[in-house]
């Protein structure tokens, strides 16, 4: 990591600690925002957060490893997640996944070589009445067809 990246990250963490407070209860909100901005929580970020909350860095890692929305490894700049729970599965999730895999040239769970997109599964998103559903970053899309899903993913900048 370059020095300016580190400085930027430290500034960001300081800002978040000021916003949420330096107690353990602030850990998830802080991790959430770092995850959202950087798409992962680096070792360095984990150490800096731990220092400010006065806990051991491995405590931070432990929490990150528990929650499926938090990652300690870099991912693509955009996260495309397809719901694989029962109703979306019944309503054609497989066809959508196959179409996206074909279009992007990667398998589910992988990231495109240009690091633009990571393709993943997600458990029930609570959109079963509009299945199949997927999320692109923080937005959700419902009643998908393979064609519509591919179009949405191709429109990601």
């Amino acid at each position: 990591m370059f020095v300016e990246e580190k400085t930027g990250l430290i500034e960001e963490i300081d800002k978040l600690v000021a916003k949420y407070g330096n107690t353990r209860s602030s850990l998830l909100p802080i991790l959430h925002e770092i995850q959202k901005k950087y798409r992962y929580i680096s070792d360095f970020a984990q150490q800096e957060i731990a220092k400010r909350l006065k806990i051991h860095p491995v405590e931070v890692y432990s929490v990150i490893s528990f929650y499926s929305f938090l990652n300690s490894e870099p991912k693509g700049r955009n996260l495309v997640r397809i719901c694989k729970s029962i109703v979306c599965d019944m309503k054609g999730k497989d066809a959508i996944v196959k179409a996206l895999e074909r279009e992007l040239g990667i398998k589910i769970g992988e990231t495109t070589p240009d690091k633009k997109i990571t393709l993943e599964y997600l458990n029930c998103m609570g959109l079963c009445d509009h299945a199949p559903a997927m999320a692109i970053n923080d937005r959700v899309y419902t009643d998908l067809t393979p064609e519509k899903a591919v179009e949405l993913v191709n429109n990601i900048k």
């Binding site: 107690t23 353990r24 209860s25 602030s26 850990l27 998830l28 909100p29 991790l31 959430h32 909350l53 432990s62 929490v63 528990f66 929650y67 499926s68 929305f69 938090l70 694989k84 729970s85 029962i86 109703v87 599965d89 019944m90 997600l122 458990n123 029930c124 998103m125 609570g126 959109l127 079963c128 009445d129 509009h130 299945a131 999320a135 923080d138 937005r139 959700v140 899309y141 419902t142």
Partner: protein, 401 residues
């Protein structure tokens, strides 16, 4: 994604309600009056466990502490459940008003909504709504002129862990820990968030409370069955013409539900989400009620083209992923049940093995630490039992067509 209000109709939750009405009414009553109304209504927790809501509020109200919390459990993660999403988008006033009423009744000044990470797209509109409430003094200090009654609500985002719907795991998560269920006792009503008395209520429970406070428990009790009072929201999806959220009285038959949503070709109905039970067509005259089939409200319909073993496999894969790994029966049990399903799929099983797995499933129900492992064997047991002809008796002799 949908936006704006869909026209819904229902006898209780979807009936007319004026924003702030429950708060106004509650502040004119004593705490005991409110607790009495709630007790008289017979309302039980709508998340699925069915614990009497009045008892929870009474215990938290009776706990002596300088600080108490009221938490709204919006970690709706059960596959096939989406009623809380609809309530939070279309009826936030019902949920938040009841939180204020709860704060007043149990003596809490802080409310927290634990919103599942998958619903992050709701957070801006919910925060805007809370801001409106603050402007109208429905939140904040000396609410509606009631001296000394202060209450505010904040929203906390989950990070994609199903187990955090369990209330003690939820509290662990709020405290910045891994979402692992706690040993009980102590119960959250005495030792909850940050060690303080904490009342955790489901989104739908709260929404119902707002109506009970305004219209009274006698009004509420006229709906429902003898032993299950009132109505329930059902998230209905799968093979039907009109999936969605429906408000139905307790005591409704499965067959009536199928009729309502236009499920013409149903052979199976999973009640209660992935952790619920699966019924076959001979059981469609059973009723949705605490005395027959209690449920958190998810109904998934399968038509004749569906392979029930594949359905079961999807459920068990979910539990293997979502088990927090803390206790052995759940961590290993779910993996073993999934292995059993794969054995059946490949036709490499003996009935002796399957019977052992059924015993294991019963053990998990008793020995698991929290509701996840206690209920994850439900689909395994009910699908293998209710669809044994389809799963085991396909080949060899008989009249299979």
């Amino acid at each position: 994604m949908e936006s704006g209000k869909t026209k819904r109709s229902g006898t209780v939750i979807f009936s007319a309600y004026e924003r702030g009405a429950a708060i106004k009414k509650a502040l004119s009553l004593s705490r005991n009056d409110i607790l009495f109304e709630l007790k008289n209504s017979g309302l039980k927790g709508r998340g699925g466990a069915g614990f009497p809501t009045a008892t929870k509020w009474m215990l938290t109200a009776a706990a002596v502490s300088d600080k108490k919390y009221l938490i709204c459990n919006a970690d709706e993660g059960e596959p096939g459940t989406f009623k809380d999403r609809v309530l939070l988008i279309e009826y936030p006033e019902l949920v938040f008003d009841a939180m204020v009423v709860g704060g007043y009744t149990i003596g809490a000044d802080e409310g927290i909504v634990y919103l599942r990470g998958e619903y992050e797209y709701l957070i801006d509109s919910l925060n805007d709504y809370l801001e409106e409430m603050r402007k109208d003094n429905l939140l904040g200090e000396n609410i509606l002129g009631k001296n000394g009654f202060n209450f505010d609500i904040k929203i906390f985002l989950g990070e994609g862990a199903y187990v955090c719907g369990e209330e003690t795991a939820l509290i662990e998560s709020l405290e910045g820990q891994r979402g692992e269920a706690r040993n009980r006792p102590p119960y959250p009503v005495n030792t909850g968030y940050l060690g303080k008395p904490t009342c955790v209520n489901n989104v739908e429970t709260l929404a119902t409370i707002s109506h009970i406070i305004v219209k009274g428990s006698e009004w509420y009790k006229q709906f429902g069955s003898d032993k299950s009072k009132g109505t329930k929201l059902f998230s209905i999806s799968g093979d039907c013409e009109r999936p969605g959220v429906y408000e139905l009285e307790w005591g409704t038959k499965i067959s009536e539900v199928l009729e309502l949503v236009g499920a013409k070709d149903a052979k199976a109905v999973q009640v209660g989400g992935a952790s619920g039970i699966c019924l076959n067509s001979s059981q469609f005259d059973r009723t949705l009620a605490y005395e027959d089939i209690p449920t958190g409200g998810s109904i998934i319909i399968f038509n004749k083209s569906r392979n029930m073993l594949k359905v079961l496999k999807n459920f068990m894969e979910f539990f293997v992923e979502e088990s927090c790994g803390q206790c052995t029966p759940c961590r290993i049990g779910n993996v073993k049940l999934l292995e059993g399903i794969k054995m059946i799929e490949e036709n490499k099983f003996t009935f002796k093995q399957i019977n052992k797995l059924k015993e294991l499933a019963e053990t998990m129900k008793i020995a698991s630490k929290c509701g996840l492992g206690q209920s994850s064997p439900n689909p395994f047991l009910s699908i293998l039992e209710n669809f044994k002809d389809e799963i085991f008796n396909h080949s060899g002799g008989g009249s299979y067509a």
